[in-house]
Subunit: 387 residues, 3 copies
């Protein structure tokens, strides 16, 4: 059989492996140079965090079942993808109080390369007219554990896959299931996340979803640039508007500099495929994030140009919505309704670009997509467009 | 010696067994066919949950020390007692934020057959006039861990007992101790919960307590019926009032149907003993809950007739109070005051009825108790009566 | 080499020992009669709490890395230092919800001999004008785990040291690092806590810090007395003012008696060194807390004379501030500003006094310091003074 799979966690069947190591030395199902490892982290904020490490021989990355199947970091050749947050994560959700009255408790666990924001809600915290928190920053899914985790190796295609299931359910309220497949191929520089979100209730349900994909050094440095094919772009607020002429550039580490964000309606090809590119000043390394605007029509660029100790980082964030308050997104028609049993699929690919050629190729793809229309860059905030 | 006991957890003495298995193969103290097992669950929301499984040869059930000595599920012959919640529990309290501003965080851990609501408060969340949560739904006790757990086997009586101690204490505030004995007998179809709640403070304290005992399929199905000897019954609200003529019946799975609840003052025998019966449409299986109205004068019937995926479930709920806001119950005289050192005892018995005869016997007992007075079924909400 | 060290936890390097036992039987680096032990507590509220036990041959004490490197209890000869809280701790922070709307969730974990209150804030909970909690009681640091723990033994000096690092950081907000050294010497009756708090952000940061050092029986008993060299003392509120004439005395266990607190500006010697003394009625045992008013200019005396079951306890509490609402302390100039990278050091020594002579010596030291000026004891609350 070409494909082998190993169940790491299956709560329904009482399976929960503490450790697992799969290498060619352990099983003939795994090619030389490849490893699939499951560990349980110990100590500090990491105590009890389950992680799955995948090494395809060139690209390594760490998946975090305990944090909703997020991806902690990736490494390809000499390039690290991810960032250094002010917390030393990955952080177990028991240390994260999403319901802190400020609505910002989510930040205490935020240090991943890829973190999903959702599923019932994401975006800025929302308060009622008495000032009471109703939707905390970026929702719950990143702080829920997977109840099923499986890895598989297909020796024919060379595909290595981590599958996970995470539920965001409550009696009388939202009941959504996230099933993810995180896949890479032996020797490749990319990983693909394919998520299926299903409404497992007998009544219609609503969802928001945004992929908060974050990069710090070495890809991000003063002089780095971000590019994507743009139909329309607008600054989120006056602070971002004031810097609209350098929205795609990154400056030096600036203590206390406020974060900025830009909302983008990207252009895609005939099937909706598109990509965003981030690269260093010299254009010798970078990263591309491929996605589909039919699945994820809203793209947010988040920039935090504070010093590394305060999180020098940028987020490339495709989503079904923009990260505004949930009621605002709902009013704009950017909250998704799922009928009973209905599922939606979302695919995001992250590729480490380790040569100038790879960076150039991505830039050319973007330029080609941009030929459909000139980019409309608004100088003032405008949150009204429909996806 | 006829009785043997084994300490599973005793924090004061530094004892905390990760696993324990007692069968006739392991110790002569345990009869053939009987087993007493302690496990620690792993994975997902269950990670780190301690459970004690009792099998008396006919009835099996799972006690959850980590969740305040609740009872997860029971099985007797081919009948399962309990229900399928939208969470995959038992859920570790670290995933349950009781203080979520909605007051409904408790729902995230709710999937048991028997869950105690209390001890300082239970019932609907209560907010102050600024909208700030003061008493969260159903209180704290179900999300506090036992600090002492012991099992015992009496070879003379055939009694198998799980004992546990759970504290709900805070400096300057409520200081209550729950000591529970959960007992069954070799070959029996029932289990008995005997709780003692003690005010361990040097000043008077207050308590509420309600046993949320929940059943889904197969005992609950369209056509199932609930019966108990009634002095007075009233719907909780207009929604329940609109269905007052079928308060004791269960309809088909109905997507989005609002929950209903009925408040009952039951009739008891000379010593206060009474029972509630739930059985399937054919009357071939069911469950009875025996309790004493001198201990637990307030009975709530909770019905959720939504589809199984949204929790098709009913609660038979004897309590010292009704599950209204705490201040309301206090005003109605249904919050209990305990003097320093004072203790109150509460007993609830759950019996699986696995034959038509057993169902009939229970029904006849109820009819006999009902002969004392005709049932007074109010058609409109009335929350004023005193116990 | 005279000094040996052992790393217990180092998250950055993936080290987290579950157990460690160092005695003369295990390593020649440790003298006879001395032991250094690392355990992980199990069961109840203690489940998963890491503790380090130090026994210098005379003084034993337990450090709690999981609770921000607090000190649980100490024992010297026949004297226990610490108190019996209404919780059975040490309590894992997962059971402590700092953000409970009352602001008092911190109490659920409070049972230590020494607990740090801080670092962003401490003192009474502070609410905004909508009644929403902004700073919870006593801050976060006691409920954050250490990410690095190391013990060392210097065979030349006889010094035994536990070092730990705890971070209180959040993206866009406060970023403080606590590095502590808790040191004792073979055969000594004292332990010294030396803390360094560093602002690890690139922008200025603020801090509060108070050492909540708590004693119950046997040192505290009816007739016990507290002494320290006083420049100025004031009651915190009218309740404390009403008892100003016995501010330094402890009465019988009194059910329901409200807590009292006194704010003190102590006198120190030329270098700022000072001490507070608590001793039993007979003056045959007690404890002294040495500190420096240049580091910790504000001393709070906290008295809870309720019965032991409700926590008969007093706190000797040197701090950079008084435990009032943060904004109040800020207005009074008692919140510390740290420039980027700036560090402050704080030292507190706790000594068990096991003889009348030791008690007398401490009392004489205090009298000598008091000769600088007569104590100014205000009869009414006065919160205005600057440190």
């Amino acid at each position: 059989m070409a494909s082998h799979s190993w169940v790491i966690t299956d709560v329904a069947r009482g399976i929960a492996l503490d450790e697992l190591t799969l290498t060619s030395g352990v099983t003939s199902a795994v090619p030389k140079g490849v490893s699939i490892t499951k560990r349980t982290l110990r100590g500090g904020l990491q105590e009890g965090v389950d992680v799955v490490d995948i090494d395809n021989g060139r690209l390594r990355f760490t998946v975090i079942p305990t944090r909703g199947m997020g991806i902690w970091r990736a490494w390809c050749d000499n390039i690290q993808l991810g960032w250094q947050a002010p917390v030393h994560g990955p952080v177990h959700p028991k240390w994260v109080n999403l319901w802190e009255p400020s609505g910002l408790g989510w930040l205490d666990g935020f240090d991943e390369l890829l973190v999903r924001c959702g599923l019932e809600s994401n975006g800025a915290p929302e308060f009622d007219d008495k000032g009471i928190l109703r939707y905390p920053l970026h929702g719950k899914i990143a702080n829920r554990p997977a109840c099923r985790v499986e890895v598989s190796m297909d020796s024919e295609t060379g595909n290595i896959t981590v599958r996970g299931e995470v539920y965001e359910t409550r009696l009388f309220f939202t009941k959504l299931k996230l099933a993810t497949e995180i896949r890479t191929t032996v020797g490749a520089c990319s990983l693909t996340v394919t998520d299926t979100v299903t409404n497992v209730a007998a009544v219609p349900g609503e969802m928001e979803l945004l992929y908060h994909i974050n990069f710090g050094p070495p890809v991000l440095e003063p002089g780095s640039k971000v590019t994507l094919p743009i139909q329309k772009l607008a600054p989120r607020d006056p602070i971002a508007a004031a810097e609209i002429d350098r929205w795609d550039q990154y400056g030096p580490e600036s203590p206390g500099k406020p974060e900025t964000a830009y909302f983008v309606q990207p252009l895609g090809d005939g099937r909706g495929q598109t990509l965003a590119l981030l690269h260093n000043e010299a254009g010798t390394n970078g990263v591309r994030v491929d996605f589909n605007i039919k699945e994820l029509p809203c793209f947010t660029l988040w920039k935090n140009e504070q010093p590394v100790c305060d999180g020098y980082v940028t987020g490339l964030e495709p989503g079904v919505n923009f990260p505004n308050r949930r009621s605002f997104e709902k009013a704009k028609g950017r909250v998704v309704t799922l009928q009973p049993g209905e599922a939606r699929r979302f695919t995001v690919e992250i590729t480490a670009l380790v040569t100038s050629d790879a960076v150039s190729t991505a830039r050319e793809e973007i330029l080609r997509l941009q030929t459909q229309a000139p980019p409309e860059v608004l100088r003032q905030p405008c949150l009204d467009w429909s996806p």
